[in-house]
Symmetry: C2
Subunit: 350 residues, 2 copies
DNA sequence: CTGTTAGCGCTTTCAT
DNA sequence: ATGAAAGCGCTAACAG
């Protein structure tokens, strides 16, 4: 065989010629075998085997048929971080489940945060889009909308013409915040990034710049409300913004807070991973929850059960599945997902 | 707008007509903007905006151009489990990184273990394939090979015509097994599944059916060798086969071993997650490592550092990247990846 | 700088 | 049951 193989792929026409039948008979052999005589089919398959024909070309088929049987997934700025974020991975599992069920491929679009992200969205051959939580100013949203195909955003932002799936983050934050801040005097919040720059910072809630990630914004608003409900002003709440959703970073940030002149006596985090990091920092400082510091997480992941964390339960996996179903079903509905607060031992009893 | 939108997508020809230019001028506007006068380009873009044209159709472009700029990833039988396996997720991160770098999409093929997996491989529009570790008898391998496109298998099996990337699992298992079994009398192995059925079982090594997953097979062979090196026969080594790579399952299995009439005094696992489960089972039984039971993991994940686990270090992420590079580069080389043993406190000192 | 021609590989009519 | 024609939407190649 020619070492510079795959020079030119075999075509259906070549197979048909070799089999001594028309192109259509060859095509039917692959797509509607029942319509072809056993004899003809055998000839076609034999010819295909001889020529090493791997079946009808998927691109040509897509062009003719008008659909790719593939769902596009946009994972936000830095693709590589998505696979390190357990929340994103759960979500992807849900999307993948629905795709597999229906025989759809799932294409992760190569978005990187660079200027050409739009072009990369435009050149992907997919029938619809699922967009993982992003910021209001993410240009990818416009690119997805311009494709005029069914598309669903998870978490936010809400975009005219695109579907939206997610929980009421503000209400959930207020509810879990009530447990976190109960009996506390110096509450703190461990936050996800405010914008795609993912700057880290520590500031009083009232001094914080506006968050461009709707999910972060809503949770902050809910925590603020919870503090207010507890008679504590937003200017008295310390908010520490982490760049990534990772236990190690949260641990370092929490250690900093604990070593500060005004250490918190309650920390409401935005993920169970973050909360796990806080617990480790407490441990390292010789403190414990909830006696010294109440701690809450978010998601009710396995780690929350192990660590006896009070947390917000939601299923990212089923939200991923809902997004996929909506994007594949051609609908673009606003779906409100379920959540609940799971009260465990990391917060103070009444 | 018509509520039954997306009835028929706008085409480049329509845009050209509306702009009063030829189709090629419109095409150049998108692909070689420098070749078009500013005036013509403006007319084309205006027409496109008016008609809501989202850019050249990706399928048509792929057909014409002969490449999809997309890499296919085959994740083994049950797609949904892949996202729950931290090893697979690291690997995917590596693949994704290379794809993003080069502007390639990454399509997860909707393989489920059902009979139509081959068809699903055949109908995906991709330029090459990366196949995550699978079993010798996985029919997906033949389907991938039949596509005659660059393809690389991770871990195994080795397939004629496909590339292979992975470490020398046998040598690594022998090396880490030496530490695990040092000074032990009743060693045990916590194994990955033997076949795609993923049956769980506990048996003496010598009574075990052959493993169809080459990675599992090689590691078992290495552990056997390590036992032999320590003067212990394979019939004296208990092998517990777990269905999934998860700490919870390993914990349950390990608890069973510890409660058996002949509890192990050393356990060599096939992942750090499994080893973490073993440590928890020890803890629950009031035992500790390495005094009562020596424990080793595999991968040197974050959890291995936290738990002071002796383990095999390898980078699944860079192996994923290597697979992607090979599959996209058109090469299909046999690449041997690096590994080393990291000795920590979970095994007995000399 | 712009346009004409041809055809990527396949499948949907519509015959026969 | 099989086949001929037409064209999905686009762009390389070559004029002009």
């Amino acid at each position: 065989m020619n070492p510079r193989a795959a020079a030119r792929r075999t075509t259906l026409a070549q197979v048909a010629a070799r089999a001594g039948v028309s192109v259509m008979t060859a095509s039917y052999t692959y797509n509607q075998p029942g319509r072809v005589s056993a004899e003809a089919r055998a000839k076609v398959l034999a010819a295909a085997a001889e020529l090493g024909y791997g079946g009808p070309d998927p691109s040509a088929r897509s062009l003719r048929h008008g659909s790719t049987r593939t769902l596009g997934v946009v994972l936000g700025e830095h693709l590589s971080y998505a696979f390190e974020d357990p929340q994103a991975v759960s979500f992807l599992a849900g999307v993948a489940e629905v795709c597999a069920e229906r025989g759809y491929g799932m294409t992760i679009l190569p978005v990187t945060g660079a200027a050409d992200d739009g072009e990369r969205v435009r050149t992907a051959a997919v029938d619809g889009y699922v967009v993982w939580t992003t910021a209001d100013d993410d240009p990818v949203l416009a690119a997805v909308r311009a494709m005029r195909r069914p598309a669903v955003v998870h978490g936010g932002p809400a975009v005219e013409g695109l579907g939206l799936v997610g929980i009421d983050n503000r209400a959930a934050a207020r509810a879990v915040g009530a447990l976190a801040f109960h009996g506390a005097r110096r509450p703190a919040v461990l936050s996800f990034p405010l914008s795609r720059e993912r700057a880290t910072m520590v500031a009083a809630g009232a001094d914080l710049p506006d968050a461009l990630f709707p999910v972060t914004r809503d949770r902050l608003a809910g925590y603020r409300q919870a503090a207010s409900d507890a008679g504590i002003g937003w200017d008295e709440v310390t908010v520490a913004v982490c760049a990534r959703n990772a236990a190690a970073e949260a641990e370092a940030v929490a250690a900093g807070l604990l070593a500060s002149p005004r250490p918190p006596d309650a920390v409401a985090a935005m993920s169970d991973e973050q909360a796990a990091g806080v617990l480790r920092a407490l441990d390292a400082a010789g403190l414990s929850a909830p006696a010294d510091v109440a701690v809450t997480g978010w998601d009710d992941a396995a780690v929350a059960r192990e660590l006896d964390l009070t947390t917000v339960a939601q299923s990212l996996r089923s939200q991923g599945a809902a997004c996929a179903r909506a994007a594949l079903g051609g609908k673009a509905p606003g779906t409100v997902a379920e959540w609940s607060v799971v009260r465990r031992g990391s917060t103070r009893p009444d």
